[in-house]
Symmetry: C2
Subunit: 348 residues, 2 copies
């Protein structure tokens, strides 16, 4: 269900008019964390500039060109369409650009809800959100996976679970720990080249899809499997996906992600306090297989340095766990805690 | 997304060779709990007998006939195909019978995973598992539903949640309480004539589908909405569906269903003890909106009368809650507890 070998891609990132928009998360993620080459970015409003110049946080440079035609001069294997347009469907002028690329034999890679394969019949299209055709039900085979499995979970959706997972992966790679990143959302999948978009799977198979992901990651013989979390146990719209992933991916330990900005989740539902979230994730995981929260990854971009330090100390005090903001400092303390966690067995 | 008015059906139940098989749950459920007429059962191995004679627990009689042709003499509006065959696809001889019915203008009603609509183009087919085309994300609109909402949950899957829900509904009807049964699985949907098979919905929309169900039920102005639960919080294969339903259906209270036979759930994962299940359902619900467990519905068919009494007393002692086996005695104590529960508001 998941490709045995992941092809190497040379990407042109199609980001017409929105490269610096914060919704262009997939484009930024691919530049920042992707292993594939990025040959250029297409955005006529920024043509002639460079990616790092307009968006230093992407950490990797690429020229910005004004048209698909110019982009094709860089011989990309693939064009990434990363942003969902407001109306849901891609505007006609975007489709024309993609058609040009596709007719030149370039693969279209899309994380949109709208599937693009039917729009380009006979051409190479990777609709990243499309789930595998055959996903088995969860069987428990994942309990036997040998490498240590860590899953990121959150006090809310969109608190930085993917970023935390990728930063821990980077720290692990730097420390020489052989690590597989098991991607569960479109951006993560584009970054790593494989994975399953678990929220696009039929409900009955969420846990089965998560189990297949860790079984697949295990085949590559890593020391550590880092599973990208989705949603949150307290987010009423996504909690089902979160729990399916929590049970299905058979984690040995959890990294809880929290955001220092104290917003509500939705419709008056508050974000749970960190200690309550720790306790509930652990208790619900333990119905199936114990998975202690071993570290807290915080996102403190809303705070200045002094406030951030205070926030981190307070959470460390409340939970007795290592706490770090991997973007502000380093993911090393989180990695250390994950590597110190033992493998766990299912409840008996 | 859900039909405004539910058509009245006159069913022929197609159960060739398996009417008394325990897997014919949908056939038995329709006879026992359905409001629609059942004009006959088709099973050539039992032709000439009557339903109550071979299967007293279905509580409603119907003649058993030997062929589809005979069944058509009873002028059914609909033929129910209730059992999933071993190989996944319906055998050719069954398809021939269904074709005969369908060509006579009779609706085919199927709870199978395999969709039958494509097999009978231009004919009336109700594929009960097919989810509505457009399901919105969960929005919190369900928090404003006026009638009291009760959801059944379980210590495991297949412990009798649907039966408990239907028995409580029956007790409510007998007590003159205007009640809507919100069905979430194929058998329940066939029994009540409407609903959404939540485990067939794309994962992102489980909670949204559950919310739409209670909003739809509320439009009928009942005093009480009884939502049929699915899976179990501790069942690793289905816990995602369970939690999506728990948060999405915005219940004010829960009825926990437990089975006296103490089997494991799957792959070494044990069924949680009842008090632990009570506590965890309450805590996880309360992340979004409080929903206390107000009663325990037990399934004691594996016990004799004395053992059953002992089991019930022990659970009542452990939990301090009303406990009843609705099939062995009555659902009245459960209904009473549900009606005494207050409406709850989302957490602030």
């Amino acid at each position: 269900m998941i490709p045995e070998s992941v092809p190497e891609r040379r990407y042109a990132i199609f980001a017409e008019g929105y490269f610096t928009d914060r919704h262009a998360k997939t484009a930024h993620g691919l530049l920042r964390y992707g292993k594939d080459e990025v040959v250029c970015v297409i955005d006529s409003t920024l043509a002639g500039k460079r990616a790092l110049e307009v968006m230093p946080e992407v950490r990797r440079d690429a020229p910005i060109v004004g048209s698909m035609q110019e982009a094709l001069d860089y011989s990309p294997t693939s064009v990434l369409v990363g942003l969902a347009p407001a109306g849901g469907r891609l505007p006609e002028e975007w489709m024309a650009g993609l058609k040009e690329a596709s007719e030149a034999g370039v693969e279209i890679v899309s994380g949109l809800h709208q599937r693009l394969a039917p729009e380009f019949p006979g051409r190479k299209v990777w609709d990243v959100r499309e789930p595998p055709a055959e996903i088995p039900l969860f069987s428990g085979e994942g309990f036997g996976v040998e490498p240590r499995i860590a899953l990121t979970v959150g006090t809310d959706a969109a608190v930085g679970k993917m970023t935390a997972t990728l930063e821990v992966e980077q720290a692990a790679r730097e420390a020489g720990v052989k690590t597989e990143f098991a991607a569960t959302g479109q951006t993560g999948i584009i970054i790593s080249g494989w994975g399953v978009c678990v929220d696009a799977v039929i409900s009955d198979f969420i846990a089965g899809a998560a189990e297949q992901l860790v079984l697949e990651a295990a085949k590559r013989n890593p020391d550590l499997i880092l599973v990208e979390g989705q949603g949150a146990l307290a987010h009423p719209a996504y909690s089902g996906v979160t729990l399916g992933l929590l049970h299905g991916s058979c984690p040995d330990c959890l990294v809880l992600c929290a955001d220092a900005s104290g917003e509500e989740i939705l419709a008056g539902v508050p974000r749970p306090e960190v200690p309550r979230a720790v306790r509930l994730y652990e208790e619900v995981a333990a119905l199936v297989k114990p998975a202690p929260v071993v570290a807290i990854s915080v996102n403190t971009r809303s705070l200045d340095d002094g406030e951030s330090e205070k926030y981190i100390s307070a959470i460390a005090e409340e939970t007795g766990l290592p706490v770090a903001d991997p973007l502000r400092s380093s993911a090393a303390p989180i990695l250390e805690a994950v590597l110190a966690a033992p493998k766990t067995a299912p409840m008996k």
